[in-house]
Symmetry: D2
Subunit: 359 residues, 4 copies
């Protein structure tokens, strides 16, 4: 069993890591780390609101009882000697200093954006850009680390990149225009999106999100050339909005392809998206990376976010677009806090274990 | 004073006509018509739920007391002799037979889509395609009617066409990609969008909507050539979704222009969109056709739908788009049941009165 | 295996029956019945919207594949010879004539209210009023039926009666004041609660609901005396409201007890509510009939409705009430479409099978 | 003109004071105070988010242009010499030290709870407990202040006390049981209720709220005896919940009266609730203190919160209650941030000006 620490364990993403790793066949949580404020307390105590006694547990799944009495350590003092892996669920600010500190000794898989755009840092989606993992060797060498840092992409990028991958492989992508209707869970809880702002409303701006999606999509679908990734040569333009949905990002996508692409061919490419047997057999891999639903009223975030345990991306309304060259348009729903966060990070860990990068 | 009938008076759009015409300086409601079921009853009685005694009045504004005792007539038996104008707020099915019947004698301004795509029928947005009104002469002549039919465009088209107009005039439009996040009020109440479907959800399909927006935008921004309108020579591609918002459609728009167009020029064109003094002075005309808000978090439907009494379209987030030629992208909010329905129809009536087509 | 028909199979409650009976160890669905409109079609066809081709399946769980090709029969022509049991999920109007027709031959367990208040008809909640089942013998005899009718109580009554039961047994109940905050799923889909009415709103009236809750609670907690049930001698007063929640009714309850009752004793009575081993071991029985949560911010409908598969009632905020004699107040959440509908009805079937009333 | 400062001017309640005082005929805002962080900046600058440039203005009404350039002073350094009145919109913590400091020189009307329960401090609702204002003389004398402190009651208490007042006067109240369904605006924005907690949910606990309502209702309807208020001799028991509503608290109320009280008499008492001509003619006084709506589906927060500019309390569903002695039950809606906050405080100021306590 791989011994893993969860850093940022008291936050909502940290809690999702506990859930995603519960009864995991290969990975055991052996350390929980958080800010100085809760260091030294049991995990249960660290989650307990002192004034009301209520447990600040935010997942739909019940708290992971077997970890509730584990002591929480100060993230700045996490000892990596007994660890094979660190899952980092902290904000980008502290990630900038803490993640390299851990990575000197041990692999770090992170949901933070701090290192996503570094030249020697791959963001990984198993089955989409598996080969980019090889960049980790260069990273280790260049930085002189025993471990490495590999962040997962932004939750909004995730479903977009997954659905573009088979189109890119089959037809070649020219350009992408996307509008997202994002769930409030993506903003977390500190303070996240407040009810007064989102009830009976849409918020048409999420700071930094559009730049992330544009840059990350190009990197994810890019080519590994020697020690760097050449960004995919297509442009991405998007508008990211927040809507009154709890979980599950909806995205409307308009794609221009290089080769002609009709609706049945696009659907076929997505349905037959082959991630390889090595990926498909990982414990957290979804049965289908992409589900295409023929019902014109689907996908809907509430009905489709949990498909394949929240690890599948659901596509619908595949149609011809009249504006773009070889234009295809569709709608997707992706679970932003499963495949787009802790679930996706655990899947990366599994792939890197299988490929010998961890453990 | 012009004497107007409201047909479909008991429905939600009909009620909005009553509100929009309350204390109108030029127009007096002199007849209310609805289906056979309520014919002969007072308007108040027709709105009263027999089992609970509750008044089925659906506008935020209070019921229009001075019309509550007016008898409701059967729409199929409406006598047009004492009328100068009919506002039609009925479904497209019955509109197909009833509106021509009225138009034989009297002008009909309609929110139904039944006649929008007929060659000799203009859809009008005052200030946007004012000149199309001249097509009414051809319509009268060709059909041998004393009156005419002029429908307003679909509520989702309305804000899009208004914001595209100054861009088209200044830069010429090549193509438009749009995603709408539409309010539930657009679906009406029979049964409209049910709570079970829209709470914590997005519905990615509104039957027929995308085709309407695509076709209507081209017609609205087209050129009147003799007795027909030549559709504007640009393509429109859109995805229309429904979100949990009560009123106010939000649209993300990506535009390619013929001439180069930068962000300040696009904003300037929208801010200075000149509708002409004759339009600007109409009683229902908004102070601004387009408001551009510099706050990156705007427009929001709850905060901006009521700008200028729900008659202005609010634009924000004007940015460069990297995918389209001379690409510009922005977000708009338009009030779907004010400017996009009864309010817009009354504005059309005012323009046609001023121009001698009515009264 | 018991052979059961589901009548009203195409509606939302009917679909929930299919889900609740999927892989049931004792009961097999052998017939699906609905209105004349869909009779003769396969169940899949009957659920398919002809214009869009979309499947009108409304449960969060996936459609029950093994029943999708079963032909739907006309409910008025259902042949009872090959059946051991009918689950009726139809409206009260048609229930009045159809349920007796079925009951002449076969037991009928119904979610409709049509027969709830008949003297010889027990409403059953296993573990709460198990002994009332004996009234079925009197019903059969009096009506000359081979079968019988037993409706489950209203979904709002269900959680209330369950939580009152241990208090009534331990302390005796004097009176109950209750306010419900009910989910929209309780209103179904025809048309149910429309989005325009419930977004950013509360609807303070649900026709007929308060009378049902008051009468049913007294009957459920009443005593079987010979061939009739003597209503429990306490009064119930309630206000029933609808809130913007998808599933799960929340109720604030104020109870006056005969014997003094403090908070720890009330909690203890609810926690130790013993339904008997025969009930506890039924396939659909929840592990706990009542869960008491000490977190003052619980129960919440979204977090607690699915406890024990939606079959447990969750209680919190147990406090002393200063107004009523021996006053106790608390908040409960109960899943209105699981324990309060199909799930509760299946549990009744299991109890009646075990006790020899069915099969 | 009275010269008033608004302390806590940058928060949401402070902003509501600016709106409530815009164009006020008697009161002029001459100072704006907030925390040290924004002291010295213009009000516009103080509201501007430095990273996005967006104006953090939270009211539906537009920002009050004539005050946007006023400099904000540090609340701890507010100079009272040029002031006739302070409106305090700060949290209870800082209110404990700041309000007495201001009150040494000048009257303070506060939305904070810090002093509500002091023996010599009246909470005032004009027309409900006008006579309690006389306690201000005792307060001044006892504390040696030139000014005084008078807080308005909690927003949930406000509508309850207003509707109980005519019942208490006419029938005498024995006891009250109340359940509130409160809007998210009552929790403010720091961070207030987050979207992740309230979408598709009810939160059944608002810390401290129930105790406030119980104590304040008794004090508000109590008798001024010499230099203290004798709490009204009835008990109040309540459960306060939060629902997904933006503005407007809904309350279900069950009342036991001393004298028999039937439904028509209760309605008549509420409809004819006479606040006195001196109160009715104040600039902010609503046309009706209580509106009783006969529609069984009313009041609804979205439809009724804005009645009489948000200053009226709307009542519906008045029925007999079967549990309490002489029981009456009803539902009310009250605007928590108008009559229940800034609007109510301005009304108190007007009354105290008219009665010579201010200016």
């Amino acid at each position: 069993m791989i011994r893993a620490a969860i850093v940022g364990a008291t936050g909502i993403v940290g809690q999702q890591f506990l859930v995603a790793l519960k009864n995991h066949p290969w990975i055991q949580v052996t350390a929980l780390a958080a800010s100085e404020r809760t260091a030294g307390q049991s995990y249960r105590k660290a989650l307990t609101d002192p004034s009301s006694g209520a447990l600040r547990w935010f997942c739909a799944e019940p708290p992971v009882e077997e970890l509730m009495d584990m002591p929480v350590v100060n993230a700045t003092e996490l000892v990596t000697e007994q660890l094979d892996l660190v899952f980092s669920a902290i904000e980008s600010g502290p990630a900038k200093t803490l993640e390299p500190k851990y990575a000197a000794d041990v692999p770090v898989i992170s949901t933070a954006s701090a290192f996503r755009y570094e030249e020697d840092v791959p963001m990984l989606i198993p089955g989409v850009n598996t080969s980019h993992a090889r960049l980790l060797d260069a990273q280790r060498k260049r930085r002189g680390w025993k471990g490495f840092i590999t962040p997962i992409p932004n939750c909004t990028t995730c479903g977009l990149a997954i659905t573009l991958k088979p189109l890119h492989e089959t037809f070649g992508i020219n350009s992408v225009i996307m509008t997202s209707l994002q769930a409030v869970s993506g903003a977390g809880r500190s303070p996240g999106v407040i009810g007064l702002d989102i009830l009976d409303n849409v918020i048409p701006f999420i700071p930094g999100e559009e730049e992330k999606v544009q840059k990350e999509t190009q990197k994810l679908l890019g080519q590994l050339n020697g020690d760097s990734i050449e960004a995919a040569p297509f442009s991405v333009s998007c508008t990211c909005t927040r809507v009154g949905v709890l979980e599950g990002h909806t995205e409307t996508v308009f794609v221009s392809t290089r080769k002609p692409c009709d609706v049945p061919s696009a659907i076929e490419a997505m349905r037959e998206f082959a991630v390889g047997d090595d990926i498909a057999s990982l414990p957290s891999a979804p049965e289908h990376m992409i589900l295409v639903n023929d019902d014109p009223f689907r996908p809907q975030p509430r009905l489709d976010r949990d498909n394949c345990g929240g690890m599948a991306t659901t596509v619908g309304r595949v149609r011809t677009d009249s504006v773009l060259d070889n234009g295809i348009k569709y709608v997707l729903v992706s679970h932003n806090t499963r495949m787009g966060a802790a679930g996706g990070a655990v899947l990366v860990a599994e792939m890197l274990m299988r490929d010998g990068y961890i453990g």
